[in-house]
């Protein structure tokens, strides 16, 4: 399996730029096959191209942070991974593989159950209670067993360390919680459908420092079981929580590597400037 996966990547690197070779060095660092990979990915919104020829592997059960200045395409990349990109009229070209399968070949609905997403602003469903929010994905996909749903509700609220705070408020509207609680509720909602990969789009940027800390602790906990890709503006956050870091600039992947390396001795000038705060 591993061999099959690697072969085409090598081939692609021959004809590709510096960037792709950089990526290979990550790949050889990894102990197992990547969970997801993007191959020569281009993305457009209307006529504007947002991503240029990005090839990137997403390591299994690790946290990959994506950093870069605003408009660098990091969100577009993230949203391509679960095909949310196309919901707003975007278009991609190139391939994205999940465990070796092209995600474009499958029903996006099934893909998204495997590749969950947490958004920048907490967005619990407005007409549902806390408990209903947690199991919304399961219920709307046909699960009816009340006992099982209650068990899953509790289990996932515990996983995001929210159970003790809301166990008496399960029947209140999801929107009645505080911002930080709402975001953890949204993570619990994502976890409840048992995804393999969790995409996070600046999940803490709208939150206060304490809530941010809780989310970061949670991410650290979650990576034991899940593959996590997190887009963040906050470099310290990327340094604290991620194993690998990818730097995007103007729609291109400039560099990717172990977080320690990216933040201490990046190979590219632009990366260095960005992580040291010279621009962006």
């Amino acid at each position: 399996m591993y061999d099959i996966m690697q072969q085409p990547l090598k081939r692609s690197s021959m004809s590709s730029t510096q960037t792709a070779e950089e990526k290979i060095s990550v790949a050889t660092d990894m102990e197992t096959a990547p969970r997801m990979e993007a191959l020569r990915l281009n993305a457009w919104y209307g006529k504007t191209q947002a991503l240029f020829n990005v090839s990137l592997e997403i390591p299994r059960n690790k946290v990959l942070a994506i950093i870069g200045p605003s408009g660098c395409g990091k969100s577009t990349f993230l949203r391509s991974l679960n095909r949310m990109h196309e919901e707003v009229g975007g278009r991609i070209d190139g391939r994205i593989l999940l465990d070796g399968e092209d995600i474009m070949d499958n029903d996006p609905v099934f893909l998204r159950r495997k590749v969950g997403m947490v958004f920048q602003k907490p967005n619990p469903f407005p007409t549902m209670t806390v408990a209903q929010n947690v199991v919304a994905g399961l219920k709307l996909n046909g699960m009816r067993d009340r006992k099982e749903l209650a068990r899953i509700t509790e289990e996932n609220l515990r996983r995001v360390a929210l159970w003790d705070e809301v166990k008496d408020a399960l029947n209140k509207p999801g929107s009645s919680l505080s911002g930080g609680q709402q975001q953890r509720l949204c993570i619990a909602r994502t976890l409840a459908v048992e995804p393999e990969v969790i995409l996070m789009d600046e999940p803490a940027s709208a939150l206060d420092p304490i809530s941010t800390m809780k989310i970061e602790e949670l991410i650290d906990e979650l990576k034991k079981k899940y593959t996590i890709v997190i887009v963040t503006h906050n470099m310290q956050q990327a340094a604290r929580i991620s194993d690998y870091t990818a730097f995007f600039y103007m729609g291109k992947l400039i560099e990717v590597g172990k977080t320690s390396k990216i933040f201490t001795k990046p190979a590219h000038r632009q990366t260095e400037d960005y992580v040291t705060g010279s621009f962006g």
Binding site: V109, R113, N123, A136, G137, L140, C186, T190
Partner: protein, 282 residues
């Protein structure tokens, strides 16, 4: 003109024009209250249970009510709703989901066209399409006309209310692996429900208040009838007939019926405004 005089003139003109605008408003609101006041004062004698529980009295006799007309109006509106609501609702959902493309744009434009068509013209069409083939006036023809009238309002409110729901909820649903249609039906529609629901009620209010499209479709009926293939009475045609009748007592009944009609329509309108004003700010 000296500067001082010019200044005084400008001040005077300012004061005059501003008070003119205030007076226009007073005049308009005055008319509203005038209509309401007349409706109440002229109909007060007949605003009672008889009006809604009794059948019309024989020609020339006093008293009686419009029980058959109330039931008739309800039947007509129910017929119109039976197809007007689903068509309007689903067309609205389609338009909300499909922003671009020639088909969506055409339908959106035609919704506006439909909204602007005089109701009497819709009556003519219902006459051609239903009355001519059946060779008789009928409740079905009236219901068909009212349904067409309801569609544009429902379509437009549905589209607008769905668009008011922040896209983040939709994205959250899709990102959980919930199919688009379930996200629409079980996440977005519930969030937009209040607005859509009152929009539907508003269109029902409009249909109940319509007279012109019923004149040569449902026609009217002085007797009790709930047969769908027979002419049927309605509140508005009742008012029309009673307003033109030479009996003072009947005229008063027309006012009383108008009062009920206005109250119905106003309450629905005020609820609609109240509900649509507070929307999501997220």
């Amino acid at each position: 003109m000296s500067t001082a005089a010019l200044y005084t003139w400008r001040k005077f003109k300012n004061a005059m024009m501003l008070s003119m605008t205030g007076l226009s408003l007073l005049a308009v609101i005055g008319v509203l209250f005038l209509i309401l006041a007349y409706t109440v004062s002229k109909g007060i004698n007949h605003i009672n249970w008889d009006l809604i529980t009794q059948m019309p009295a024989p020609v020339g006799e006093e008293g009686g009510g419009m029980a058959n007309a109330i039931v008739g109006s309800l039947i007509l509106v129910a017929l119109g709703s039976a197809y007007g609501i689903p068509v309007g609702l689903f067309a609205g959902i389609y338009l909300a989901e499909t922003e671009k493309g020639w088909f969506a744009r055409t339908v959106r434009f035609l919704t506006e066209v439909l909204n602007g068509i005089p109701s009497i013209v819709i009556g003519v069409v219902a006459f051609i399409v239903v009355v001519l083939p059946m060779k008789r006036f009928s409740a079905l023809a009236g219901g068909f006309a009212l349904g067409i009238l309801m569609i544009p309002l429902i379509t437009r409110t549905t589209e607008e209310m769905i668009r008011l729901v922040p896209s983040s909820f939709r994205e959250a649903g899709l990102a959980l692996g919930i199919p688009r249609w379930k996200t629409m039906l079980f996440v977005i529609l519930p969030a937009a429900f209040k607005g859509i629901f009152t929009g539907i009620f508003l269109s029902i209010a409009r249909a109940i208040g319509e007279t012109a499209p019923l004149l040569f479709t449902a026609l009217g009926n002085r007797f009790w009838s709930t047969e769908l293939d027979q002419p049927i009475a309605s509140m508005t045609v009742f008012i029309y007939d009673y307003a033109r009748a030479p009996f003072d007592d009947w005229n008063q009944q027309a006012w009383a019926a108008s009062f009920i009609l206005i109250m119905l329509v106003f309450v629905l309108n005020i609820i609609f405004r109240f509900v649509t004003r507070k929307t999501y700010t997220a």
